[in-house]
Amino acid sequence: MKTPNGNETDLHAHDHTLKCGEVVHRVYAFLDGQMNLDDVLVFKDHLKVCLPCQAYVQFEEKLINMIKSKSCNDETKIPATLMDKIKKAIEVSNLPPKS
């Protein structure tokens, strides 16, 4: 399993329960807020003592935030005429037959 820096083995050998390779595999569950609380604490403990993983997680976080913000910039409003058409059809419950 590769570490964030692309090394095959875990070169910085401080004592923590989470391996750097696991950080690479679980980084998205952590950043997406989809990890259980116990695992979040272990993950954060690892980041506190492991600078390469810290830099890696920051990089991934920044990239995800870019994807979120840059692709959400183009929010377009639904055309008002279409909204009116849908509302009217629903209000009179006069929907076109199923296609």
Binding site: P4, Y56, I67, E75, I90
Partner: protein
């Protein structure tokens, strides 16, 4: 549920459904047809909606299913099977191995990408990967909600998301090299 209740609960999601429809169909006219169909289908089958559950996720599920049945030839896109090797790719690793000075941090490359690069990379993703990125990153659904909408296990959402992000990184790296954001 009355027509009025439906309007109050469902119509506030019209803009985000429309934007997702635009991303799915890449065409304003098809998006309008698609969103209209989604609201009609939802209203007709409103008795299948459990009160108090997630209206937004339910509407998105109808959107995705309608799009798949109308616009995609096959619901299962075979092309995603061939992306096992992408898991090893890391934009961070690429940049890290090239950055020579302390001032040139791997993160600084991210500032050089234009909005256009990001959009182009997302658009280039295979459909099944793009669906997950749209739902989780752009629309903010949880893994569980995305799994309900796409009708696949949470584990599949996680692996598709992992591969999608790696593939996005690979495309961005290609742009970085092509447009000279990194020194050759």
């Amino acid at each position: 549920m009355t027509a009025k209740d439906f309007e109050e609960q469902a119509m506030p999601h019209a803009d985000s459904l429309y934007n997702t429809a635009l991303r799915l169909t890449r065409n304003p006219s098809d998006s309008e047809d698609l969103v209209q169909e989604v609201f009609y289908k939802a209203f007709r089958s409103i008795n299948q909606f459990e009160a108090g559950t997630n209206m937004r996720a339910w509407l998105f599920k109808i959107l995705v299913n309608t799009h798949i049945s109308q616009y995609r030839k096959t619901a299962k896109d075979p092309s995603v099977a061939g992306y096992d090797d992408i898991e090893e790719f890391s934009l961070y690793g690429q940049v890290h191995s090239r950055s020579s000075s302390l001032t040139d941090s791997p993160e600084s490359i991210l500032d050089r990408f234009l909005d256009e690069d990001i959009r182009k990379a997302i658009d280039k993703l295979p459909d099944q990967f793009r669906d997950v990125v749209m739902l989780v990153d752009i629309e903010g659904f949880s893994y569980k909600e995305a799994s309900d909408i796409l009708d696949v296990p949470v584990g599949t959402i996680m692996s598709r998301l992992f591969r999608s992000r790696k593939l996005l990184q690979k495309y961005l790296w290609e742009y970085a090299v092509e447009y000279g954001y990194v020194k050759p």
